[in-house]
């Protein structure tokens, strides 16, 4: 019998076997990060790290011989703030002299210092305990002077030595990214992952270089550094996002992180996305909501216990610790507020002077507190729309990204304050935010990165696709496109609509304005037919869309319901979308062959109708081709060609 021990399995993950793509999507924020991978179901999903956290705090803490990374490190902010590093992402790739003085000295975490050896390099200095050198192994050779007292046991380990450790910003980022990647590797059970990492739009090339280097040092192959807006667009253009939304839409991405607000207005044309306008500000962020909430609970604590507690800013060391404790506790409160309509509690043991605190806040009070932040966001949105010359009513969808954007109050405030249409699509309206739905603002970016990573991994690595791959590199070519100026569509002439709309029929937009060329769109709809003559006609028009503002005095409404006659007549703006015909490009006429008579007792009974398919193709030259055909075998067909402008 063989005596060689055979290990029963191994802890090292195999690099093959599982069919999950070896991809991790990393949303690397300044305050929180999240990771997403493909699950067995074939969908990208945000996964939890070893601590069970999906929202992983960007913090590293050194406590004696231990190193804490993530949410555990934030707890160290209470008593071990000097050895806890936070906010390190934004310092990536920056020189020490470039960092403003206000960011260097922080009372909440380890300060940024000039690296002692490398010139103009920011670094952190932390106190650690270095393990003492390990003792000599017990001697195996029996000494000539073996005495009965000699022991085979190792010499006891000596005490660890206190030491100082200098870490560059890049090292800190590498440590943190490595921990994220390790979580993903453990989940997938394979090593050597490819990663797509988000970067804020404001990052400079040097910063992107630094991030890429930090990630490479952490042992991942960076496939692409993706703009946060881009990562969001990947998720929102995927099939699972919302099937009922049109493929051509204008989308506003509201990214409210803890320290900044980024707004991006995107034009999404059947999956192709480009930025119409964007803005970024660090003056608005979730931290402000935190501060207000901390002050609220501190005041409540003082009221309940008669113990003075001055926070935000706190000067006394006891107050500072109390603030740090509250800051940790309200994380839970905010999540409760986001998830459920009821009141949320905040409990801190031994907040100050050994007194416990338990308080609660309901959603109304919370929204009242956060109102200034909401308004600031709404103002920023208004400013952005104005700069892009897009009316709020032309924005079809709002997408929320970031932890603070999970608050339902923000959605409500934004729709009313910034003047969006009532029926604007939002994840809140669809109810996909809570319960790990697809619209969860905290996971949108990471999932987008994972999807993008899988897509990039699917491009074959050969000569033919070299150019394709190059387009995904930084500063890649081939992404600059031509776009249409006006919307092109078909007008189905009809009597009834003539009076009201003034267009003389039903307007069906086919290729929207700002669509990248070449473009092809196919729409399908029903057309009613006359009993005797199955004639069909489609006029092809180029149109401009505008918003007509109608002012209706509230008095008119008050008359309608006589309950409140004392209301002052107030002007209310009602916005209507308007379409103006610009250029007539031609018409397609034909006789339908496949009319079907509706039977039954419905109101449509006895009417004949047929289904037609209209396909518009606009070449890069600007030439237009319209093909109209009846759906079904042997259906009628017609087409229209409009040569390129200038031809």
């Amino acid at each position: 019998m063989s005596t060689t021990p055979v290990p029963n399995g191994s802890a090292v993950g195999s690099s093959e076997g599982s069919s999950l793509p070896p991809i991790v999507g990393i949303n690397f924020g300044n305050s929180y990060a999240s990771i997403a991978v493909f699950t067995k179901e074939g969908v990208a999903e945000c996964i939890a790290n070893e601590e069970g956290e999906r929202q992983i705090a960007c913090a590293i803490s050194f406590q004696g011989e231990e190193i804490y990374i993530g949410n555990q490190a934030t707890h160290q902010l209470v008593k071990n703030a000097k050895n806890t590093i936070t906010g390190f992402r934004n310092l990536l790739g920056k020189k020490f002299s470039e960092i403003p003085q206000s960011q260097l000295q922080s009372t909440k975490s380890a300060p940024v210092i000039q690296h002692p050896d490398i010139p103009d390099e920011p670094a952190y200095k932390v106190q650690i305990l270095q393990p003492a050198p390990s003792p000599l192994p017990p001697s195996t050779q029996p000494s000539a002077f073996t005495t009965p007292a000699a022991s085979q046991a190792a010499t006891p380990r000596s005490e660890p030595v206190p030491a100082e450790r200098i870490l560059t910003v890049s090292e800190v980022n590498t440590m943190f990214l490595a921990s994220l990647v390790e979580s993903a590797e453990n989940f997938l059970g394979k090593k050597g992952l490819g990663a797509v990492i988000t970067v804020p739009t404001a990052f400079t090339e040097a910063q992107k270089d630094a991030l890429e280097k930090a990630a490479t040092d952490a042992g991942v192959h960076v496939l692409q550094l993706l703009d946060e807006a881009g990562a969001a667009a990947v998720t929102t253009t995927s099939d699972i996002w919302a099937a009922e939304l049109p493929a051509d839409r204008t989308q506003l991405i509201v990214d409210l992180g803890s320290s900044s607000l980024a707004l991006t207005l995107l034009s999404i044309r059947s999956g192709l996305a480009f930025v119409l306008a964007s803005s970024h500000t660090t003056s608005v962020g979730g931290d402000q909501i935190d501060e207000k909430l901390i002050r609220f609970f501190a005041a409540d604590f003082t009221k309940k216990t008669k113990v003075p507690l001055a926070v935000c800013p706190a000067t006394d060391i006891a107050d500072q610790r109390a603030e740090a404790r509250l800051r940790l506790a309200i994380e839970h409160t905010k999540r409760t507020i986001s998830a459920s309509p009821g009141a949320a509690t905040c409990s801190v043991e031994s907040l100050k002077d050994g007194l416990d605190y338990t308080g609660s806040i309901n959603r109304l009070r919370f929204d009242l507190l956060a109102r200034p932040v909401y308004s600031a966001v709404a103002d920023a949105v208004k400013a952005l729309l104005e700069s892009a010359q897009v009316d709020a009513h032309h924005v079809d969808e709002l997408v929320y990204v970031g932890g603070s954007a999970s608050l339902p109050g923000l959605d409500e405030a934004l729709i009313t304050d910034a003047g969006f249409a009532e029926d604007v699509a939002t994840p809140f309206a669809r109810g996909t935010v809570v319960g790990g739905g697809v619209g969860d603002p905290t996971t949108v970016l990471a999932r987008g990165c994972a999807v993008q990573g899988a897509l990039l991994a699917s491009i074959p690595d050969d000569e033919r696709h070299r150019e394709v791959r190059a387009a995904y590199q930084r500063g890649g070519k081939g992404n600059e496109v031509q776009a249409t100026q006006r919307t092109v569509g078909v007008l189905v002439p009809g009597a009834e609509v003539k009076v009201e709309g003034g267009l003389g029929g039903v307007w069906i937009p086919v290729v929207h304005k700002e669509t990248a060329l070449p473009a092809r769109r196919t729409v399908r709809f029903d057309v009613e037919l006359a009993e005797d003559a199955p004639a069909l006609a489609f006029e092809v028009w180029e149109v401009t869309e505008s918003i007509r503002v109608e002012k209706i005095t509230a008095a008119a409404e008050a008359e309608a319901d006589e309950e409140e006659p004392e209301e002052e007549p107030e002007e209310v703006e009602v916005k209507h979308k308007e379409i103006k015909k610009e250029v007539f490009l031609g018409a397609v006429q034909m006789d339908a062959k496949l009319g079907i008579k509706t039977k039954g007792k419905s109101t449509d009974s006895g009417k004949t109708s047929t289904t037609v398919e209209v396909q518009c193709v606009i070449e890069t030259s600007g030439a237009l081709r319209v093909d109209v055909k009846e759906v079904g075998e042997g259906g009628a067909a017609g087409s229209l060609r409009v040569p390129a402008p200038g031809a």
Partner: protein
């Protein structure tokens, strides 16, 4: 693959007397925003498609559509191969007709065992592994434990296919039993219903019919021999070949088929001995009957095949060609034998050699024929002897029984 947007719109009736507005021939789309007006975010499948469209297909949608279609096909194939990681050796899934599911296990002798296991496309070619896999598949699907589901009863042609009824499962087990036993499988293959159908269809051809309808020789007879080749104990079996087969090939073919060694047997159609009867006589009587019936069938089968080979030989255009060639050779030789033609001597010699060879071959054939006839005679004699022996034995037995 253009995505089609379906709009919930019903456009109204075209007004009577509608005339489209006059289109000026110079009306064009407004010029698009120039390149660089917008920069696409390099994200998503749509962007990748856009890139490929621009870089590989010169903005041509049709060419790109074709490319996508082939890519999709390749992907589907890959997925299928991945999904079927456990290679089922091509057993796949065959459709189960209601008639099949309604089979009565009591009538198992009449069922098509290959169809029951979903192996109709392999039949006698199915390997033991394939039978094993197919059986496992069917059992997983039709095991009575799986059938006892709470779903409402589903009926096809008035037969409840979703009950606890394990009739079809019994059929599966019977089919497995038959097909995994080499002897039973041989018996079943001998009278495989699919073979019988094909045989009936293909071998109905007669010489007159063949001539009247001016059928193609090879198209008519190749499938017949392909059908019968399964019964040969000697494999591989020479096929009918083509019109330009060599003489040796043609002769080899007829040689083989005249000496066809078949394993076909007809035990499958044996009459069952009456279950209830204990009578030894009954049993013996049935056995005897079965035996003679089997022998008769086998004889019929051999005769039929021989008839087919005869028919083929008589209609084979290659035989005619060979005979023609021989005749020409003879004449040529005759001509060469006449004096005054020395120039052709060498050729004549060649012909002579050829003729000799042919003669030898013919002689051989004749010898073989004789040998066959002898063998036949011997066989008949042996059969007679056996019969005699049996008769004697029986007589002895009867005598013993009587005493």
């Amino acid at each position: 693959m253009a995505t089609i947007q379906t709009l919930p719109i019903t456009a109204p009736v075209l007004p009577k007397g509608y005339t489209p507005p006059a289109a000026s021939s110079s009306s064009r789309l407004s010029a698009p925003h120039p390149t660089g007006h917008r920069v696409l975010l390099p994200v998503g499948q749509a962007h990748l498609n856009h890139l490929k469209l621009a870089l590989h297909h010169a903005h041509d949608f049709d060419s790109f559509d074709a490319h996508l279609a082939t890519e999709r096909e390749a992907k589907a194939k890959l997925l299928a191969s991945e999904a079927g990681l456990e290679d089922d050796l091509g057993v796949g899934d065959e459709e189960e007709t209601p008639e099949l599911l309604a089979l009565d296990p009591k009538e198992w002798k009449k069922q098509d065992h290959y169809a029951v296991l979903g192996l109709s496309k392999f039949r006698y070619k199915a390997t033991a592994d394939q039978i094993k896999i197919a059986h496992r598949k069917k059992v997983l699907k039709h095991h009575p434990d799986k059938k006892a589901s709470s779903t409402p009863a589903e009926t096809i042609l008035g037969i409840n296919v979703n009950t606890n009824d394990d009739a079809f499962f019994k059929c599966i087990q019977k089919a497995h039993e038959v097909l995994t036993n080499a002897e039973k499988r041989r018996q079943f293959d001998s009278v495989d219903p699919a073979f019988l159908d094909a045989e009936e269809e293909l071998t109905s051809v007669t010489a007159t019919e063949f001539k009247n309808k001016k059928l193609d020789f090879f198209k008519t007879f190749t499938p017949i021999f392909e059908l019968y080749e399964r019964f040969s104990r000697v494999q591989p079996v020479p096929g009918l070949g083509t019109i330009d087969a060599t003489k040796a090939e043609v002769e080899g073919f007829y040689d083989f088929w005249y000496n066809f060694d078949s394993w076909r047997s007809f035990e499958w159609w044996d009459k069952e001995v009456n279950e209830g009867s204990d009578s030894r006589d009954d049993k013996r009587y049935t056995e005897k009957k079965n035996k003679s019936e089997r022998a008769r069938r086998k004889k019929e089968d051999t005769a039929k095949l021989r008839g087919l080979v005869d028919l083929t030989l008589s209609l084979d255009p290659r035989i005619k060609m060979i005979k023609q060639a021989e005749k020409e050779a003879r004449e040529a030789k005759k001509a060469a034998a006449q004096p005054g033609k020395p120039a052709k001597k060498t050729k004549a010699q060649e012909e002579e050699e050829k003729r000799k060879a042919e003669e030898e071959a013919r002689k051989k054939e004749e010898e073989e024929k004789a040998a066959r006839a002898e063998a036949k005679k011997a066989k008949a004699a042996a059969a007679n002897a056996a019969k005699k022996a049996r008769r004697q034995q029986r007589a002895a037995e009867e005598a013993a029984a009587a005493s």
